[in-house]
């Protein structure tokens, strides 16, 4: 009986559009995010909190760079590589950007095939995404090694403002950690897809909830977020 009454409320609430629909959703005395599973809503809220973490890092970087009286190292030269006798500015970072964007593309395709319930293609695309992510982390390790050999430390560097090292290691390190954890979770989710957990609704190890293909989309949200953060790091730290 009560179920019926509630569902009627929901239909009237969804009649509204624009701001009225938001007011109706939030004042409905039920879950505010209708048609959105708790898993997806929680992932979005986690990503919002993560946005604040990365924003704080980038704002700290902005504050340090704006307030220093010492010139800031030129990222274009610092991250230049000489390949076959030609010195290309920022080339490694550009390749890393393309690798991460490609991984986002394969992840989007994986989500698409997951909702078509194509087990094999989904798992293969997720593993490809994980491979691209691992490539990204590998290139980042190379970049860190190169810079450390050149004398960059969190407290000093040969080219200018000392804060360059600390912001660089903090921001790219935190992002690289996110990518690493993403790769691990991609492999775990790909294994579940491959095993058919989401076709057989096998219960989750931690949650004891039925496996659903939505897990792939939620995983995708995290992965795209990692790519999204890189867009901002690329613009503000490397290009600015």
């Amino acid at each position: 009986m009560t179920e019926q009454t509630f569902s009627r409320i929901e239909t009237t609430a969804s009649d509204h559009t624009g701001l009225r629909s938001i007011a109706a959703d939030f004042s409905s005395d039920r879950s505010a995010f209708k048609n959105v599973s708790w898993g997806k809503a929680m992932m979005w809220i986690f990503l919002l909190s993560d946005t604040f973490v990365f924003s704080s890092f980038l704002i700290a970087y902005m504050t340090a760079r704006m307030s220093t009286t010492v010139p800031w190292p030129n990222a274009s030269e610092v991250f230049a590589l000489t390949i076959g006798g030609v010195t290309l500015p920022l080339i490694l970072i550009a390749i890393m950007t393309f690798v991460l964007i490609s991984s986002s593309g394969t992840m989007a395709m994986a989500v698409n095939f997951a909702y078509r319930r194509d087990r094999r293609k989904t798992a293969a695309l997720m593993l490809l995404t994980a491979l691209l992510g691992a490539t990204f982390v590998g290139m980042q390790a190379f970049e860190w090694t190169k810079l450390i050999h050149e004398g960059v430390r969190p407290w000093s560097n040969p080219w200018g403002a000392a804060q360059f090292g600390s912001t660089f290691f903090m921001i790219t390190g935190f992002h690289g950690t996110h990518v690493t954890f993403g790769v691990i979770f991609l492999i775990i989710t790909a294994r579940k897809v491959w095993r058919g957990d989401f076709d057989n609704e096998r219960k989750g190890f931690f949650t004891s909830r039925k496996g659903r293909y939505e897990a792939v989309e939620i995983m995708g949200l995290y992965w795209h977020f990692v790519d999204l953060v890189w867009v901002f790091i690329f613009a503000f730290f490397y290009l600015w």
């Binding site: 624009g18 629909s21 938001i22 959703d25 939030f26 505010a32 995010f33 209708k34 048609n35 959105v36 599973s37 809503a41 979005w44 809220i45 919002l48 946005t51 604040f52 924003s55 704080s56 704002i59 902005m62 504050t63 704006m66 307030s67 220093t68 009286t69 274009s76 290309l88 500015p89 920022l90 550009a94 950007t97 393309f98 964007i101 490609s102 986002s104 593309g105 992840m107 989007a108 395709m109 989500v111 698409n112 997951a114 909702y115 078509r116 319930r117 293909y213 989309e217 995708g220 949200l221 795209h224 790519d227 999204l228 867009v231 901002f232 690329f234 613009a235 490397y238 290009l239 600015w240």
Partner: protein, 115 residues
Amino acid sequence: MAQTTAPSSTHAEGQQHPIKLYLVVWAWLFILSACSYAVDYFQLQGALRYSLILLFMMLKAGLIVAIFMHMAWERLSLVYAILVPMAAVLVFVAIMVFEADHTLFSRIAYFVPGL
């Protein structure tokens, strides 16, 4: 399992959109990244450099959030719950711009050796 064909609806079956859409967005992200890199490669300077960096950044971020993360098809209350708090970040940026300017002024006025 029956899938909905209407792209504007988000049902329990999940988000269903044509593969072509993702490929087009993917291509655009490549183009925009190449443009960002070109800004540095050709060493553009000044206001042009900063406006182009910000433009390409916002376009890329918008494409990723709207299409790849399916925000364009999500219910408005979720979209607002996630995007509106981001405004707090912009306020924080504004506060820290003032703060950094003040610090720089103090450093130049009192602490820079040889001045």
